[in-house]
């Protein structure tokens, strides 16, 4: 950044309105700068996007997005492939502990759930920046409330949504013509078909989502799930869950002693014929994977009769990001109709958009209208309205209890 730009930004900052109460970086010059100034500052920056790297299709999408922001805005993007999002959060926390309040090594994190909450509680987010992004006005906040409330935690503009996720199970219809439509029915099915279903290991978000999906069905008090877990609310819910899981586990793949590392690791297992049913976070998972030769042609998605959990993937900028301007540009590009339609393409990711299509200008809408459909995609009416994710503390507590019970 050249000196005059910095001075101009600082000048703009002094004119800014008072920051909102939840601001984590109040008075940051970029939060007051107009968009062209952000674009000017971003040009030439290299944005380090820290994102879970276990899914090669998401990696490919992010690589495409990197190429586009380079072409459109002269911003380079590097995808730091994480084994677990927590690694990036830990890095930011460690930098804060070491006193590095600027020039941080993480510019943008793909984040939600407990990781988002952990950063919010420790004041590690840059922003609120969401409403500085030109494309933010097209977000479907009413129709997709998880774009503004993440796992019951208000996002408050500290992160920008970029894709919707909803639990959908995948079944190989050649072997499972009538898939079970509840977690209780899944237990009966597993008894009759031992070793043919599983869930990712519970330290992975997909694995603990499997437990949360069951929790939602089995917990006596569902409203309690939306509040932070305490011993009084956790015990009855968790007891019901573990009673069910104790019966299920022996009938899981590998006798419930080993688990796939993450969601995508289940695909080759179904392709090889090891699994007949598995959990995914993408209603278009089957369609995309079939197109890429990663699932058998007979793979089909299904959801549970009582509904399935849904949430939103965000990107957030750490408070000490070295390239916050570039990160804002990338976040805005991910919200553009171009990027959203690319992500929604069942040949790419098949992720439902976070945008309100009705609010888009016609050329933006046209991109979505041009997307192909297929037999392996659940139409929105079959998918149902997503269930709200429990408070992140449930995820943390369930993972700890699982490791205590079964990880010895």
């Amino acid at each position: 950044m050249t000196q005059p730009t910095r001075r101009a930004l600082l000048g703009a900052a002094s004119l800014a309105l008072a920051a909102p109460a939840w601001a984590q970086t109040p008075g940051h010059a970029l939060l007051a700068a107009d968009w062209p100034a952000v674009q000017r500052e971003a040009r030439g920056q290299t944005v380090f996007l820290n994102a879970w790297g276990g899914d090669d299709r998401t990696n490919a999408f992010l690589a495409w997005a990197g190429g586009r922001v380079q072409a459109l805005h002269g911003v380079a993007m590097r995808h730091v492939r994480l084994r677990d999002t927590a690694e990036a959060v830990a890095r930011v926390v460690a930098e804060k502990a070491a006193g590095r309040t600027q020039g941080g090594s993480v510019d943008l994190i793909w984040i939600n759930g407990p990781n988002f909450l952990a950063m919010k509680e420790q004041g590690l987010h840059f922003g609120p920046f969401l409403d500085r992004l030109p494309n933010a006005r097209f977000i479907d906040r009413l129709g997709k409330p998880s774009t503004i409330v993440d796992f019951t935690v208000p996002v408050e503009g500290l992160a920008a949504p970029w894709r919707m996720a909803q639990v959908a199970f995948i079944a190989d219809s050649a072997r499972v013509p009538q898939p079970p439509r509840s977690m209780a029915a899944l237990l009966d099915w597993a008894r009759a078909n031992p070793g043919r279903t599983t869930h990712p290991q519970v330290r992975n978000f997909m694995g603990v989502t499997f437990l949360k999906q069951a929790l939602h069905e089995l917990a006596p008090d569902k409203a309690a799930l939306l509040r932070p877990a305490c011993d009084a609310t956790l015990r009855p819910a968790a007891d019901a869950l573990w009673a069910w899981y104790d019966q299920l586990r022996p009938h899981l793949w590998r006798g419930g002693r080993a688990f796939p590392a993450n969601g995508p690791a289940q695909r080759p297992l179904m392709l090889d014929g090891e699994l007949d049913i598995y959990i995914s976070f993408n209603p278009a998972e089957a369609a995309v994977a079939i197109a890429n030769g990663q699932l058998p042609e007979t793979a089909r998605p299904f959801v549970l009769a009582g509904g399935t959990l849904g949430n939103t993937s965000f990107v957030s900028i750490p408070f000490n990001a070295a390239h916050a301007a570039g990160a804002m540009l990338v976040a805005d590009f991910l919200l553009s109709a171009e990027a959203q339609a690319q992500a929604a393409d069942p040949r790419v990711l098949g992720s439902p958009t976070v945008l309100d299509l009705a609010a888009l200008p016609p050329e933006g809408r046209a991109r979505f209208a041009a997307l192909p459909a297929g037999p392996a995609i659940l139409p929105p009416e079959a998918l149902g309205r997503p269930l709200q994710e429990p408070h992140p503390s449930w995820m943390t507590r369930l993972t700890a209890e699982w490791e205590d019970r079964y990880g010895r």
Binding site: A86, A98, S105, E403, R408
Partner: protein
Amino acid sequence: MRAAPWLTATLFLGPLAAGLAGTLLPAFGYLPALGGDSLSLDPWRALLAAPGLARSVMLTLGSGLAATLVALLLVLGFCAVTQGSAWARRAQAALAPVLATPHAALAIGFAFLVAPSGWLARLASPWATGWDRPPDLPIPGDPWGLALVLGLVLKEVPYLLLMAFAALGQVPASASLRAAAALGHRPVPAWFKLVLPQIYPQLRLPICAVLAFSLSVVDVALILGPGTPPTLAVLVLRWFGDRDLALWFPAAAGAVLLLGLVLGAILAWRLGERAVAALGRRWIATGHRGGQALLLRALAPAALGLLLAASLAGLAALIAWSLAGPWRFPEALPAGWTLRVWRAQSAEIAGPARATLLVAVLSTLAALGLVLAWLESGAGRRLRALVWLPLLLPQLAFLFGWQVALVRLGLDGTLAAVVWTHLLFVLPYVLLSLADPWAALDPRYARSAAALGAGPWRVFWAVKLRLLLRPLLVAAAVGFAVSVGLYLPTLFAGAGRITTLTTEAVTLAAGADRRVLGAYAALQAALPLLAYALAAALPAWLHRHRQGMRP
């Protein structure tokens, strides 16, 4: 030049001391940046209360000791039965590619081979096994760590074999055996009685390095080891990566525990050596001339052949998957071949490939420079023990503290930090492979050159380097291969910003498409092989007009 040993010592002591202190202090509760400002045993209490710790420690000890013992017994058995035969040479040549291959690529290839849906099951199904779907067997990742042990043996056998051949070249093995034969002793038992005691002292350090590595390895354990619970090193790494930084304290305690396990295992190994030596002396004293050792004659070469075949087939599986079209179980071969993955991934793979090359070339050059200056100065023999330390300590025990120091220096995630950290592991191997050829060079060459008026620099450049070009290039290839294969040092010093083919392949091994994983791992394996090939071809080409310089 005389400063080289001391410069090296400083470059080594800094990271090691800062790293060990930066791990030891948090293990006892001291890390002011995170609010730990007094010493306490709380980290140890938290560590001991962690679910699965006891199993994890047993698994670590069991797999580490088993891998070392199996590898050593195989190597000794093979050396004993092939002593003096052409097979020894052939084995060395055949194992060279395995020696060059990074651990991670070998482990991924092995997994591609032995998994229930792996190549072996495909080749045998359904005609022999009756399987039209993969069997529900916990391989790899079995709770006993057998796949992990085998994966480690695959790589450690070629290394120990090379060390054993080198040691055998320095003792009068054949003469000893001829003398024994003249007294009526059978060759194989005589080898164990006469030759083994002569070469074992030279094998001790490599064996300890293998032991330390097997106990503390992370990448192979992530790929082939069990997950619930994993080995101690993987468990500790998980805590270091948790968003709850309070877990750094038990993680540091775990790293210190791992250090204790390694030191304890080395101590136990030394005690075991004495016990075996005492038994061996009694055996020798009985005067038995021994039998034909038919079983060993059959088993050792067969086991070694099997290992070699498994390694090469695993590498072939990597390449096959990266080029595979649709490949459904139980088809023995893909329905078609395609370059689609290589084309689609070329842009993404280029960055890590470039970083891998850059780090490997820079750290190898730095190591060569330091080692040559060190050897030339003739000083610092005592410092050599220090250089071995990074290979004998668990990487986790000092890399965490070193990373904290790098953050404080503002160096984390820089190329310099990664190259410096790689140097800790590259230099010992370069020194190891150059020291003997350097010492063996006839000093009369240098004297003649000096007598003809050449100054010390000219003698060094025009005579010594030229004469030692072959071992020099081999040392460079070894250093290059070591650097390419490093996982944990890259992960910690690179801070996620510098990623190599190794870190990417291990990340992808958690569950990405086998085609993509195959491409990364195949390229990771190819780079060191190219370096070895270059090291072999270059002297031949440079010396094409010099009859006397050809082997």
